[in-house]
């Protein structure tokens, strides 16, 4: 068959059942991405004779003799297509994994489609931006700007990868061709709890192309945790690479290594596993009851607080005297709130490619938020010295916490070490849902007491968190859940009880907000309910009770802390949102729609309480440019741009003269990872300190070189002005080289001391009292971002966080059946927001200068999600008079109570029918 791709002709024969997506990638067109492989996300969009199609659901043979255009073929004569320029300059992306498909779709819209983007773009999912930036890109708005040398901080500098992202050149994990690559596929447990009696592998090994079948007998009998932290002791070592007990539906049971994905799949189908099904428990409260099936028994028990009751960790604290506090109260509000599992749904699935290089070193190319810690784990599992192992990431297609885990690297490394061959494992979208780590479901009871004047007298909190079958992140998220959502309020009497509980469901993990999103929902709804009971305005009640500079931040205990704040950022956030909502006046969309407003606030530490370290190396290159080597991974959070801006300003140069080398354990120092907003706060501080040190070093060398006083030397873009002379940096680098000197500095930074970031969210919503549909009429978030390094990136992160948060409330429903099997493990039925579902959010940055982050900045990519769910639920309650305490608020879950309990529309709310 003859294929014409981007003007080139290929003579090739796809497999009969092959889709166009994989065929084009085999031909080297890696810009054609896999987000879902089922036609739902649009990341693989290409043109067939000029018409856009999803190449993953297009049979490859159908393209025979037709003209195929991929993102790589869109630029003509080396000039970007106007839509590529638009997406670069807006910028219309964050992680960039959806961008090729977005551009290929947007570039062929006609006028009527451009006028109806919600419909025209509903076949293209973006998990990062919240779609406003994409709308702006399609409309040709430009928010990026050039910054003069030395003045980049505070400017919306474009991400350095922008050109690569919009042309499809940006390399993600799987975007490489490896000679002789073998492929892994996993056999997963159909049982929630079972002992593996036998695994018959002969038939699988007889499948042509199958090389190995790995079972629990073939892996190092070493326990570890898939969760990533510098201090591995904070997460329990309760996991084997492959185990002889299955503890949830979807747990990997065997791995088949073969010459092709097809052979590996056929091999998996031929593996016969004999299970002895065991009793299972799915609800954490039941799991804590006497006689419940025990999830972990034996060796791993020593990591578990109470293995018989399945309690991984329990935390208790009592400050003051809550009983006395409640006795003092005029009004008491008590209720229980439930927050379910939700999925990250980053568009790039997990995956790794491993090989041995010429020196026998194990190379691991992976989609991770922390190559450094992945390396530590692999070294532990396979008894490797640090110099025998390299872990690195190229650009990562979204993370949101989902890649703060080791899910693919271990089994790939095992296969490569066993066979000496390069090995790949790429998760399907279904595996993302059934085999990774969604947010911890939590059931939180809040009891608040207050005086009639609104002053809190007692605050009681009980959280039962479901860590699932394994303990990864279960302890740390429990700890986080009992922190800032409670500490944000002053109250002399606080009592807290928390339990992280094992069940036979898929393990929970890290997700944007990390254990703080769930209590923010419970507490901020409870505050709203208390305000209503008191007859007070919720924002006014908050103003009366929030922590002020000088107050201790108290939750579980009152003790020494490395967290402090001195600014009034929270007051400013509250005021800004309050004002914006009072001015909002969108009418209801029609009859039977009820309108109301709701708010919530949150507080977030700027780094995690666990050890967080980052090391930066800054080097003056021979050509007079700079290289910054830093471990932080780029997956759309924008730290690369921020690091560039910070370094460029310290070195008084243009951002174009600084190059970032990142996320590679062979090319940069240790970095705990890109999570907990530490990419800016910790790694940014390392970049700042190293750049500052290099500045001093260069000036001192220049002074010596020119024989002038160092006080008269200043950096000036590509040179140093030394008194009257201007000496080029390239000349200084050469002079240093001849003396055997490398002008380079390294500095480490730590996640301590820490500051806090505040934010407030407001919604005006309309609720249809018959169908249960909720529409956001107005969305505003105020954020205390400290000194803003890159305004457009801050705005983009908040917008994206709000829309992801709204997805978790309004559209996404993670449904498990009675055995813990997911009912909707695909993006068609687990509905992340599309363009049509995403309202625009006004983002207000309030001024604050109290951060100990780089230049006074604060990471805000994570905390923005915390107040979204409670503000929305509070708005629904305001609109309808009906309080929903159990997420999500999908129409099918809320309509019944609306029909029976909702207030009627007030005459003023009815649309003007005249």
């Amino acid at each position: 068959m003859t294929y014409h791709v981007n003007g080139r002709t290929f003579s090739a024969e796809p497999a009969p059942g092959q889709c166009l997506r994989t065929f084009l990638r085999e031909l080297g067109h890696f810009g054609v991405k896999k987000g879902c492989d089922s036609g739902d996300c649009g990341a693989c969009t290409v043109w067939l004779d000029g018409l856009p199609v999803h190449s993953c659901i297009t049979p490859a043979f159908r393209a025979d003799g037709r003209a195929v255009t991929t993102i790589e073929g869109l630029a003509a004569d080396g000039r970007l297509h106007p839509m590529q320029r638009n997406f670069r300059d807006a910028p219309g992306f964050q992680c960039g994994f959806c961008t090729a498909g977005m551009v290929m779709t947007a570039a062929c819209l006609d006028q009527s489609q451009l006028a109806d983007l919600p419909r025209a773009l509903k076949g293209n999912l973006c998990r990062c931006t919240g779609y406003r930036a994409i709308e702006d890109a399609v409309q040709g708005l430009v928010a990026t700007e050039a910054a003069p040398p030395g003045n980049a901080v505070g400017a919306s500098v474009a991400p350095p990868a922008a050109d690569d992202v919009v042309t499809g050149r940006a390399e993600y994990t799987m975007d490489t061709a490896v000679e002789g690559l073998l492929h892994l596929k996993l056999v997963r447990s159909p049982h929630p709890h079972a002992r593996i009696v036998a695994i018959e592998t002969e038939a699988a090994l007889a499948v042509p192309g199958v090389r190995r079948v790995y079972t629990w007998k073939d892996v190092p009998r070493k326990r570890f945790t898939t969760a990533i932290h510098t201090d591995h002791l904070v997460d329990p070592d309760d996991t084997f690479i492959l185990d002889d007990v299955a503890r949830f539906v979807g747990q990997r049971v065997a791995a088949v290594l073969a010459d092709s994905v097809a052979a590996a799949e056929a091999g998996c189908a031929a593996v016969t596993v004999t299970y002895e099904a065991l009793p299972a428990v799915f609800d954490p409260e039941e799991a804590m009851s006497p006689g419940a099936p025990q999830v972990h028994a034996g060796d791993s028990e020593r990591f578990i607080r109470d293995p018989e009751r399945n309690i991984l960790l329990n935390l208790h604290g009592h400050v003051g005297d809550v009983d006395a506090g409640f006795a003092e109260a005029d009004v008491i509000h008590e209720a229980t709130y439930t927050i379910p599992r939700v999925q990250h749904a980053h568009l790039e699935t997990h995956g790794s490619i491993t090989w041995l290089d010429a020196d026998g070193k194990l190379n691991v190319r992976t989609s991770s938020q922390s190559p450094s810690i992945a390396k530590v784990k692999l070294a532990h599992l396979f008894d490797l010295r640090p110099d025998e192992l390299r872990v690195f990431c190229r650009r990562v297609g979204g993370g949101f916490g989902g890649k703060q885990e080791v899910f693919t690297e271990d089994i790939c490394a095992l296969a490569t070490l066993d066979t000496g061959r390069p090995v790949s494992l790429e998760f399907t979208r279904e595996e993302e849902f059934i085999g990774t780590s969604p947010r911890h479901p939590m059931k939180i009871s809040v009891k608040l007491g207050a005086r009639a004047d609104g002053r809190l007298t007692a605050f009681q909190f009980r959280n039962v968190s479901n860590t699932g079958a394994y303990g990864n992140h279960g302890g740390e998220t429990l700890f986080a859940s009992m922190g800032s959502a409670i500490a944000i309020y002053r109250c002399p009497n606080k009592k807290l009880d928390g339990y992280s509980v094992y069940t036979h469901t898929l393990p929970s993990g890290a997700l944007r907000g990390y254990g703080m999103t769930q209590p923010a929902f419970a507490v901020e709804c409870a505050i709203d309910e208390l305000a209503r009971a008191l007859g007070q305005d919720p924002m006014e009640l908050r103003r009366k009770n929030i922590v002020r500079p000088g107050d201790p931040l108290v939750s579980v205990e009152a003790g020494p802390s490395d967290v402090s704040f001195s600014g009034n950022g929270l007051d400013l956030c509250i005021d800004a949102v309050d004002r914006a909502l009072r001015e909002a006046c969108e009418p209801p969309p029609g009859e039977d729609w009820l309108v109301g407003t709701g708010t919530a606030i949150s507080m977030h530490d700027t780094a995690p309480p666990t050890e967080h370290i980052s090391e930066a190396w800054v080097t003056l290159q021979a050509d007079g440019t700079y290289e910054v080597a830093i471990g932080t991974v780029e997956f759309g959070e924008g730290t690369t741009t921020a690091h560039l801006q910070i370094a460029a300003d310290q070195l008084r140069t243009a951002t174009s003269r600084v190059r970032i080398v990142q996320s590679d354990t062979d090319r940069n120092g240790f970095d705990t990872g890109a999570f907990a907003s530490a990419g800016l706060f910790v790694a940014g501080n390392a970049v700042l300190a190293a750049s500052r040190a290099l500045q001093a070093r260069i000036l001192s060398f220049a002074a010596e070189h020119t024989g002038v006083d160092v006080g008269s030397c200043v950096l000036d873009d590509d040179a140093v002005r030394c008194a009257g002379a201007r000496v080029l940096l390239s000349e200084l680098a050469e002079a240093a080289r001849t003396r055997g000197i490398l002008l380079a500095e390294a500095r480490k930074a730590y996640g301590s001391p820490r500051s806090v970031a505040f934010n407030a969210q407001g919604f005006r919503v309309a609720v249809h009292r018959m169908t249960g549909e909720i529409r956001v009429l107005h969305s505003v978030q105020a954020t205390d971002a400290g000194v803003v390094i890159n305004p457009e990136q801050v705005r983009g992160q908040v917008e994206g966080g709000v829309v992801q948060g709204l997805g978790f409330v309004l559209t996404e429903s993670f449904q498990l059946d009675d055995e813990g099997r997911m009912r909707n493990p695909n993006l068609r039925n687990y509905r992340i927001p599309t363009y049509a579902d995403a309202p625009r959010t006004d983002v207000i940055c309030v001024p604050s200068t109290d951060s100990v982050g780089p230049m006074g900045s604060k990471g805000i990519a994570e905390c923005c999600i915390n107040p979204v769910a409670p503000a929305l639920a509070n708005a629904v309650a305001d609109a309808t008079g009906v309080r929903f305490r159990h997420l999500p608020l999908t129409p099918d879950r809320i309509y019944r109570r609306l029909v029976s309990e909702a207030v009627r529309p007030r005459p003023a709310e009815l649309p003007d029918t005249a």
Partner: protein, 277 residues
């Protein structure tokens, strides 16, 4: 996604169902077939090489070839006298799939997939279409669209039998119509999709319930019902277990929406006296 178990794609002539065997599947646009694992399939029988005409307009109505793409149907401009003609495009817009999928997905593929939310089913049942089916031996049968889908992803097609075309009668296309649709997200898959038509000559009201139920339900009212009649007929025609349970809606919500939308359609189609001159 790649369907690794497929060993062969077979182009077929006038009796495409001949030599049909287990593991065979019809391939039209492929947009559903390639969207989900198909471990039991071995061969794909390609229908798009047969050259069936997509849209043929005549005095009797419109004949829609099974391989007519959604794009072609959406772009079709019906004769002005077909007052219900816009229903063709409105039904296309009820797809969860975006316009890009419409470039390949076919009308027949959607019908034969027989998902409760298949909007081509909604359209053809509401417009009182018939389907022409070809058996493997080349013989033909014609069935009422309302009788074709029997449940969630279930229909009356025998092994090797194929949907050849839809005939949408002009009489139905000359009715008034009203539509109500709900999905759990703004432009998502239908939770309930109801279409009402009203005959300008006889005043007959026809109500079609889809997406809410596992198979389409079509109710005929020779004279327009009142609210009570409508409610009673819905209750009689749709037992509780006919309401569909999937991640896009609960049976209870769907029953509620069906009653709510049906009443709105009744009011809309009877508000002006119903029978036009």
């Amino acid at each position: 996604m790649d369907l690794h178990t497929i060993t062969e794609v077979i182009p077929r002539g006038d009796a495409p169902g001949q030599r049909w065997r287990a593991g065979d599947a019809w391939l039209a646009g492929g947009t559903w077939l390639f969207s989900t694992p198909q471990p039991d399939l071995r061969r794909l029988v390609d229908l798009t090489t047969l050259g069936w005409e997509s849209l043929v307009v005549g005095d009797a109505g419109v004949e829609i070839g099974a391989t007519c793409t959604i794009r072609e149907l959406h772009g079709f401009t019906p004769p002005a006298e077909w007052t219900a003609g816009p229903l063709l495009a409105v039904s296309c817009e009820a797809f969860l799939a975006s316009f890009k999928v419409w470039n390949a997905a076919t009308v027949g593929g959607n019908i034969c997939m027989s998902l409760p939310a298949g909007p081509m089913i909604s359209m053809s049942v509401a417009l009182e279409a018939t389907y022409t089916l070809w058996a493997p031996d080349g013989s033909e049968r014609v069935v009422d669209a309302a009788d074709f889908v029997t449940g969630d992803q279930e229909n009356i097609l025998g092994a090797g039998e194929v949907l050849r075309r839809l005939d949408v009668p002009a009489a139905a296309l000359q009715k008034r119509y009203a539509v109500r649709r709900m999905s759990l997200t703004r432009l998502g898959r239908s939770t309930a999709f109801l279409i009402g038509t009203r005959c300008p000559r006889t005043g007959e009201l026809v109500l079609t319930v889809t997406a809410a139920t596992t198979r389409p339900v079509r109710l005929r009212f020779a004279t327009p019902p009142d609210a009570m009649d409508l409610r009673r007929r819905l209750h009689e025609a749709i037992p509780d277990d006919l309401y569909f349970d999937d991640p896009n809606g609960t049976p209870e919500h769907r029953r509620h929406l069906t009653a709510y939308f049906a009443e709105q359609i009744r009011v809309e189609l009877t508000s002006d006296g119903g029978v036009a001159a």
